[in-house]
Chain length 332, copies 2
């Protein structure tokens, strides 16, 4: 009986570790379990590790399986949510793994797959920054850039589960060709990779930083994190660079707001750990560039769920915030 199924299992399937949790419909974590992914031992070992996490949660959680509505899995891989299959995940050594069938055969529980930015968006919407809205976008800025988009209380998946490629929108039609095929992609200007590259290039050209120094005559070791830490110390080279990055990202975000008329934007990912250095510039740029009727309603915020957003959101796929949220109940 559905009334009793008040728990879901959320799994965050990463390249180095698997994090699982038994989660109540209120968002409360009854139990968590973590183990290494063991991808180097082959694709089958990764599946065994998932079973291990599932078994542990069910055995040690003190909740009978009949009370669990299903298993949500967040992954960075390419998924097919209709077939509940991971089509391709380089970091797991997986190709066409029918995870839904495997889990159902072993546990008689339905599975839902989603990408990790989407899971984070669902989590922030159900239990985090976006509890009061139905129009939220989660933006992750780390090595690359991604987005999970909720509009009108529904996750935007697209026809092939590939929506939200925010890093690959062009903000410069005369910009460099990107690996994705597009030109002048946002990711080329504002990701962690881009920040490191730009800092290295400027320093090599002779610009001066009071904190970032050459090693053996080269600046190739400098990372985005180094730039962030230097900015915190007041290094004007780094402050200026991050300001420029914040303006570019702010314009990209303005594009999102103009398309989605979003209410809440939530930021996660490594680069956003430098939020103090970059968030005020983003906010200022959005205010300046947005159609006023749209920017008036915007709230920008850092993630409040952090590294728990993946598991929470994956489990959240089974809990409806609104009865009309078709994504949540259609495939049970």
């Amino acid at each position: 009986m559905r009334e009793q199924k008040e728990y879901a299992i959320g799994i965050d399937l990463g390249g180095t570790k698997i994090l699982g949790a038994l989660i109540h419909t209120t968002g409360e974590h009854v139990m968590e379990k973590q183990c290494p992914t063991n991808a180097q031992l082959g694709g089958q070992s990764v599946i065994e590790q998932i079973y291990f996490v599932m078994d542990s949660l069910l055995a040690e959680g003190g909740i009978s399986k009949e009370k669990v509505i299903g298993v949500g899995v967040a992954t960075a891989g390419v998924i097919d949510s209709k077939r509940n299959t991971v089509v391709y995940a380089n970091n797991l050594g997986w190709r066409d793994v029918p995870l839904g069938d495997l889990i159902y055969r072993r546990y008689q529980l339905p599975l839902r797959l989603c990408n990790d930015a989407n899971a984070a968006a669902v989590a922030e919407w159900m239990w985090g920054v976006g509890k009061e809205t139905n129009d939220l976008i989660y933006i992750t800025v780390s090595t690359g850039i991604g987005a999970g988009i909720i509009t009108g209380g529904k996750l935007v998946s697209g026809v092939g589960d590939s929506a939200g490629e925010f890093g690959h929108i062009s903000i410069n039609t005369n910009g460099p060709k990107c690996g994705c095929g597009n030109v002048g992609c946002l990711e080329n200007y504002v990701s962690g990779t881009a920040i490191a590259k730009e800092a290295q290039a400027r320093l090599s050209r002779g610009e001066k930083s009071s904190y970032l120094n050459a090693k053996d005559g080269s600046f190739d070791h400098i990372t985005a994190k180094d730039v962030g830490e230097a900015a915190k110390q007041g290094d004007s080279f780094s402050v200026k660079l991050l300001r420029e990055i914040g303006v570019q990202l702010g314009i990209g975000i303005t594009n999102l707001i103009h398309l989605f008329n979003t209410e809440v934007l939530v930021f996660g990912g490594g680069v956003m750990n430098m939020a103090d250095s970059i968030l005020p510039t983003i906010e200022e740029t959005v205010k300046e560039h947005c159609i006023p009727a749209l920017s008036n309603r915007i709230t920008l915020s850092q993630t409040i769920l952090g590294s728990k957003a993946g598991i929470k959101g994956a489990a959240g796929l089974f809990f409806s915030k609104e009865l009309d949220k078709s994504y949540t109940f259609q495939s049970v």
Copy 2:
């Protein structure tokens, strides 16, 4: 009883004319009625004209009011769909007109408002190019640029009914400031206005066209339509200009596809009447710039409903294609 309510009234509320139709749930037009908007006679006259269209449709349509589920109105104005109010419509002389209340008081019928690009998207999705998909974007390119976006079988409205401002996404962060606040907006490069301006500027600088001639030493009279007609005649100046426009628009559309993982793109609006000159370039650019997994599934097409898309889509707001389409039934 809902079973009997198999008709809706669709109204396309334009600045010069009001077009109305009594439409069956199959999309069939039982009857159409058109009259001038009479905006020059003041805001109240516009309302009277709507009543006239409604009265005519109900009296002459041969369908009893009990069989009508509601009235959908498509407008270019700023709307508040929750309050069923037209907040601002310059071309109608309207400010805060509670159209929903007015219609309900007079006809005891519920009303739904949406902007005209959204109405066209709904129409093409329910009865036009996009019948087989749940992920469709309608793009209108005329004086300006707009979009109506359907994702997962749901219209994207945003928190303030202002989603779809496709003309105001930046494709050049170093581009000129736009009236909207953003910089390098797509609309500055590819709208009808932009095409005319660019042609005038190039000809004034001395570029040669075999079809577009100066009048009294000036090129200021040249319109986008002129450029389109010259291109059709083989004018290499115009062919080249429209090719460049098509590339810019193609990159803008690639941005949409990367965000929405859309399946069908439908084009309408005056500039797209030159589809022969511009659509092949857009298609080629999208193929070249899109992530292959996303472009493989894309169909680009001109509107097949044309000037009827507005009334059909407005009525369509009352007919659900899928039971879970929350937009359709939540506010009845």
